[in-house]
Amino acid sequence: MTSHVDPETLALFAEGELRDKDREQEVRAWLAESEEARAQLAELREVSQILASAPVPPMPEGLIDRIDEALRTEAKKHPVPSRPTVAPLAPPDQDTKVRPLHRPRGPARWMPFLVAAAAAVFVLGAGTAVVSGLFTAPETTGSGTVLAPPPAPSPQAALPYRLAVVSSGTDYTADDLVSQGASVLDRSALSDFGESTEESESLVPRTDEAIPAEVTSCTEALSGAYGTPTLVDIASYEGQPAWIMFFPATSGTGAEGYAIRVVEPGCAEEGDPDSAVVDTAILHSQQ
């Protein structure tokens, strides 16, 4: 008695992605006996066809010129692309107040590191000439500098910011990432985020000393692309060790949310920290 198979199960079945053999058998049986089931499967195929048939709107006139122009301007600003800038990123819209660091663009992103370097340089008495040299120096300065957390960021360079790190013991899953994330956020009492902390025990963030240096390096490596997380949960994802990072996102209407990113541990060691991000979800404040 296969009572009902929902479209999602049917769609997963069609892709061979129904990982449960019994369930697969059930769907097969249902398809064999039910006209309705076969019709629904056909409808799902049609979804793909409809999507494929929608024409791509043409590129706006002059866009390529605009891009060329932007690239020329960029080339003038930085004649030799040599610095490992962390990632793609558009400056925030004016109506998006993303909370993290100010990221004006270009070298400024590296200010904390440069400030740390400057501190060392001043001891030697070499002064600003050497510091400005760092901006254009090729990669010989090495990424080692980059990974070292700045001991004393200047007030200009970084906003007062404290990373909260917890270990909730959650095994996050792709399907439940949002609800699991919401629960951990709640329990870490980080924010105004849903006030229902009744049945769950609260999570106490680690002290600064107990935060693994790799976590800090990783959040720094990702900050170019995503800003800075307010919370990191050292946990697991689909059974694998993972760091679940919560990046604040705020809309113009003032509604708050978080982008949850699942990151493989040790992301800073990779050439491309973005590639350590294995999953992403968005959490609304009004659940």
Binding site: D6, A11, I50, E74, P81, P88, L89, E139, V277
Partner: protein, 209 residues
């Protein structure tokens, strides 16, 4: 600087990127020329809005230009560019996300499906497949939308989409499957114009395992 000549068509992408890193001023614009059309298709499909897609594309090319030295030779330049465009779009979607129009969780979706009589009404009164499809895509979580745009709309192979999105091919397939299931009720009218808008919720609640 005659490094880029008439023979430019024969220069592989990787070589162009290398030349760009060596300071060749023309190499990168050749890459733009080669790839912009497909990358535009990705951006406009993901974002739906011409202006935003144009901005995202420009941002993406600028980041690729700046970050060219970070390109890892084992990927294809085209995959790498796609990834950067997808990231630029993703970032814009994320900022947009807190607006109630884009649901990411089931309850949000249910609220929307109760409110609606069809996909978001088109203020211009124009209604064609493209607009309807875009309106329907708005109901999808970003990850599903990205997978469907690449695979169903633009016809990329699952393996290629997986490389662009940096996820397993199986994950691409399941995201596509879930996305199609969710879209089912929103696209019903394109299949059969006489259909009642009174469609069931796109999912039966059997998703949690």
């Amino acid at each position: 600087m005659n490094t880029v000549t008439d023979a430019v068509q024969e220069i592989p992408d990787k070589e162009l990127l290398f030349r760009h890193n060596q300071g060749d001023e023309h190499a990168f614009s050749e890459l733009v020329k080669r790839h912009h059309a497909r990358l535009w298709a990705v951006a406009i499909r993901v974002l739906g809005d011409q202006e935003e897609a144009a901005d995202a594309l420009q941002d993406a090319f600028l980041s690729a230009f700046r970050g060219a030295h970070r390109f890892r030779g084992e990927a294809m330049v085209s995959t790498w560019l796609h990834r950067i465009v997808v990231n630029a779009c993703h970032d814009r979607l994320r900022r947009r996300m807190v607006r109630p129009a884009v649901p990411t969780e089931d309850n949000t979706l249910d609220i929307l499906s109760n409110e609606r009589g069809g996909p978001a009404p088109d203020p211009t009164g124009r209604s064609d497949t493209s607009l309807d499809v875009h309106a329907a895509l708005e109901y999808l979580p970003v990850e599903q939308r990205l997978a469907l745009v690449l695979v169903d709309m633009l016809g990329y192979r699952v393996e290629d989409a997986a490389r662009i999105l940096e996820i397993a091919p199986g994950t691409v397939k399941s995201r596509c499957a879930r996305g199609r299931a969710r879209l089912l009720p929103y696209l019903a009218h394109l299949r059969n114009p006489g259909d009642s808008p009174d469609v069931p919720s796109p999912k039966g609640g059997g998703r949690r395992s």
